[in-house]
């Protein structure tokens, strides 16, 4: 099942390029419009990069899933003997590889736009890498819930953003602690804990939502 999903995501690589250009463009515009004031840029960079990464994921996942549903692939998944949660887990892994990692690497490469010091960029990369599985899982859960509606990415972000708050807050507190020179280990543990918890919660919730989404 996992290899199927990886292969499946590999096939979708065509329209992933639009996701990455969206992220890069948004980052570029943000750093441009925030103005040259370095200190302000450095303080606002982590929050901005996180929010843009979340929005990029929440706008790209529903497109993939909606297309798969229309082609009847969801029925095939339901008929497969293995549990829906294994499908969702493999989907999250596939998405992590095809969207998560590239986004993290891109934000690492684009961090000079925000004049981040090396220590901060490293911790930014680390927090993004830890937060992404939960984000993809939430994105998939949201797109399953909004599959049969016209809402798309917008509706998905509306209902799921409140749930990403813990990730956002803990991720940013790690960044802030490093900036203030205080020890960021506790925030780091909280980030990992909440990321793991959200991943498990959204996969189980997703396994309820999948049969529901397949019904038209």
């Amino acid at each position: 099942m996992i290899s199927r999903e990886l292969y499946n995501a590999y096939l979708h690589k065509g329209n992933l390029s639009s996701t990455f250009t969206f992220f890069a463009l948004a980052l570029f515009c943000a750093s441009l419009t925030l103005g040259p004031n370095e200190i302000f840029l450095r303080q606002s960079a982590p929050g901005l990069i996180w929010i843009l990464a979340i929005l990029t994921i929440f706008f790209s996942t529903p497109l993939l899933l909606k297309r798969e549903a229309q082609c009847g692939l969801l029925d095939e998944i339901l008929l497969h003997p293995s549990l829906t949660s294994t499908y969702l887990l493999s989907k999250v892994m596939a998405e992590y590889l095809f969207i998560g990692l590239p986004l993290a690497v891109m934000s690492f490469l684009l961090s000079p736009l925000f004049a981040l010091s090396s220590g901060e960029t490293l911790s930014l990369l680390l927090t993004l890498l830890i937060g992404f599985p939960a984000l993809s899982a939430l994105g998939i859960l949201g797109s399953l819930l909004t599959l049969n509606t016209q809402g798309g990415g917008l509706l998905l972000s509306l209902i799921i953003l409140p749930l990403t708050l813990p990730l956002l807050i803990f991720g940013l507190s790690v960044m802030e602690m490093t900036q203030l020179g205080l020890d960021s280990f506790p925030s780091f543990c909280l980030l990992m804990g909440s990321s793991l918890f959200l991943l498990i919660l959204s996969v189980t919730a997703g396994s309820w939502a999948l049969p529901f989404a397949a019904e038209r």
Binding site: M1, S3, R4, Y7, N8, L11, H12, G14, R67, E68, Q70, C71, G72, L73, D75, E76, L78, L79, H80, P81, L83, P211, F212, A214, E215
Partner: protein, 191 residues
């Protein structure tokens, strides 16, 4: 082998019961929106509430094991839009753990093998239908649940389909068919 007792889905049909023995075809026909697809999806276990009243080989069904011996082909064809032919074969291979050779053979029988360098979304409806129906050959499952298989199949495709039906019936298969075409010799239920 398969018997269904008083399944109901309120506005469309209520406590419908029938049974299907081996080597038997059952035709379900009715006007559009009469609930044919809903009934078929229910029997395939795709729609909850759990079909408590379906028995397979006399025992109440357990979804994950029951679904392993059924083949469902519905309106949506289950093909990956971006996939080339070889990608589709790989996908099926990973998904159903069926030998690639068997899949390619089936593609030859259905005459879709030469369409190698085209993505599924660029194929015509008929070709896509044939590609999807090729699973009748490479996926060995006793119970077939087919939802309007005749749509946009040309005469040659139809002939291949009829042969596969006959072939399946010979070796103890069961077929549940939903379609508009009346077939005098087959038992039918009207919704």
């Amino acid at each position: 082998m398969l018997d269904v007792r008083n399944i109901s889905f309120l506005p469309l049909f209520s406590n419908l019961s029938f049974s299907l023995a081996q080597r038997e075809i059952l035709l379900i026909h009715g006007t559009n929106g009469a609930g044919k697809s809903t009934l078929l999806r229910m029997i395939a276990g795709l729609i909850q509430p759990p079909p408590g009243t379906i028995f397979w080989k006399g025992k109440r069904i357990q979804l994950s094991t029951y679904q392993q011996n059924l083949l469902y082909s519905g309106h949506s064809l289950g093909l990956h839009p971006e996939a080339l032919l070889k990608d589709q074969v790989n996908l099926w291979h990973y998904h159903y753990r069926v030998e690639k050779k068997a899949i390619e053979e089936a593609l030859h029988i259905w005459g879709v093998a030469p369409l190698v360098n085209q993505k599924t979304q660029h194929l015509s409806q008929g070709q896509q239908k044939r590609l999807s129906l090729s699973r009748l050959h490479w996926l060995a499952r006793p119970l077939w649940i087919l939802d309007e298989p005749h749509t946009n199949l040309d005469s040659e495709g139809r002939k291949i389909f009829e042969d596969s039906l006959a072939h399946h019936i010979e070796n103890e298969g069961l077929i549940l068919l939903a379609s508009h075409e009346k077939r005098p010799e087959i038992r039918e239920i009207c919704l």
